[in-house]
């Protein structure tokens, strides 16, 4: 009797990886999913932070896909290892700070390592030729297979008929005749396949899932690197760049100001790391100061924060200023900046 073959699937939570996994399940392959957490994903937590998005489903889409398909999902923290991908991408960046080709190579390489460790037979992804400008092109998809080490054990069920045969097809573990030849950016074939398979619910498919593809986010990350004088980050940096207004009045410090209740609550958790400003005379957002500051800088930061409080048109706004990780602070009274005094170039 032939052994049941096992495939590990990269599961992003989007439609394509869901379809790829389902196609393998339909062929009797045992599938387990991998989802790698880099810190840069646009996912439920950003909705969880912001109060006005509380009605949006806060589910982790990869977990939802796994449960829907009835497969195990291993969510793996790769934040530290992924830094080299973001900071030194061998294949460069896309339009912003998105190292998409290096990212895909990294993820397939990690999947390959997991496959070997857990004695699985091959890897599948939901990649489609021509769907993404960097990593999902006919020219670059072989690069992913080769440089990840996965080589002929990497199968892309949705585009397989436009790619050379892989080991699972050659060995008969997978019937190539049941694989597809989807190409391009149109989603029609995927939607049609989903309907055929009875999949009626799925998250935003195949794109917009990484903050590094976002122009504004990339600008904030570049600003962080410039201010630090080096290309480094930690997970807190990655998370903070996703929320609040970032205002840099001087090269050596910036002010992060919450935009609404949920963000303010989230920023409170960072009082352990930064100087915080909380208005006491008026309603207003909490602000954090990131950088090495003088008393004059703190004054300036407070005047900026005051601009975003209910006291912005008043003569003074009073703040409680708390040093990092301190429960005790001091009171500071400032005159809010006028709108025209907030320089456009300060806005990150």
């Amino acid at each position: 009797m032939n052994p049941i073959r096992k495939a590990v699937a990269l599961i992003s939570g989007g439609l394509d990886s869901m379809l790829a996994a389902r196609m393998m399940l339909e062929q009797g392959i045992h599938v387990e999913g991998l989802n790698f957490f880099t810190g840069f994903c646009v996912e439920g937590h950003t909705h969880a932070i912001r109060k006005h998005q509380q009605t949006k489903p806060k589910r982790n889409n990869a977990l939802w896909v796994a449960e829907t398909l009835g497969i195990k999902l291993h969510i793996i923290d790769v934040v530290e290892e992924y830094k080299d991908v973001v900071i030194n991408p061998k294949h460069g960046y896309g339009q912003h700070l998105n190292p998409c080709l290096d990212c895909k190579i990294f993820m397939v390489k990690k999947a390959h390592e997991w496959r070997q460790e857990h004695d699985f037979d091959f890897i599948i992804t939901g990649e489609v030729i021509g769907q993404r400008p960097m990593s999902q092109r006919k020219r670059t998809m072989p690069i992913v297979a080769n440089q990840s080490g996965a080589k002929e054990r990497l199968l892309r069920p949705l585009s397989a008929l436009n790619l050379p045969e892989t080991l699972p097809e050659q060995e008969g573990w997978v019937d190539r005749n049941k694989l597809l030849a989807i190409t391009g950016r149109s989603r029609k074939e995927q939607f049609s396949l989903a309907e055929q398979l009875g999949i009626t619910e799925y998250s935003q498919p195949a794109g917009g899932c990484c903050f590094l593809t976002n122009e504004h986010y990339s600008r904030k990350l570049a600003d962080l690197w410039q201010a630090q004088g080096k290309r480094e980050y930690d997970l807190d940096d990655v998370m903070l760049l996703k929320i609040g207004r970032h205002i840099r009045p001087k090269s050596h410090f910036k002010v992060i100001i919450g935009r609404e209740e949920g963000e303010n609550r989230y920023l409170e958790g960072y009082r352990r790391r930064f100087i915080s400003l909380e208005p006491t005379s008026h309603d207003g957002p909490i602000a954090l100061i990131d950088g090495n500051t003088t008393p004059e800088d703190i004054q300036e930061a407070a005047r900026i924060a005051a601009r975003y409080s209910q006291g912005r048109l008043d003569k003074k706004v009073i703040f409680s200023v708390r040093p990092a990780a301190s429960k005790e602070g001091f009171e500071l009274s400032v005159k809010p900046f006028l709108a025209e005094e907030i320089q456009a170039e300060w806005m990150v």
């Binding site: 989802n35 957490f37 996912e43 439920g44 937590h45 969880a48 932070i49 509380q54 489903p57 806060k58 589910r59 982790n60 990869a62 977990l63 939802w64 796994a66 449960e67 497969i71 195990k72 999902l73 291993h74 969510i75 793996i76 923290d77 998370m239 958790g269």
Partner: protein, 73 residues
């Protein structure tokens, strides 16, 4: 054995990642008490448990925290 994980201020998917790292160390019948603040855990943790065959014993919510008790079958 009862384990306690303080996952305050950790956002999705870090709570399930941290619990996923603990889970292999748990023996059958062991329980884990998760202290969370991310509203997303109300979906993520039960979903993870369903996917991996663990049992949610209880979920308690207050303004500040979400407390989840899990048992390994």
């Amino acid at each position: 054995m009862k384990y306690t994980l303080d996952l305050t201020y950790l956002l999705c998917p870090m709570p399930v990642i941290r619990f996923g790292q603990l889970a292999p160390q748990m023996k059958s019948g062991d329980t884990a008490h998760l202290i969370c603040s991310d509203p997303g855990v109300e979906y993520d943790v039960p979903a993870w448990c369903r996917v991996h065959g663990y049992t949610i014993k209880s979920i308690h919510k207050s303004d500040e925290q979400i407390l989840i008790d899990i048992e390994k079958p």
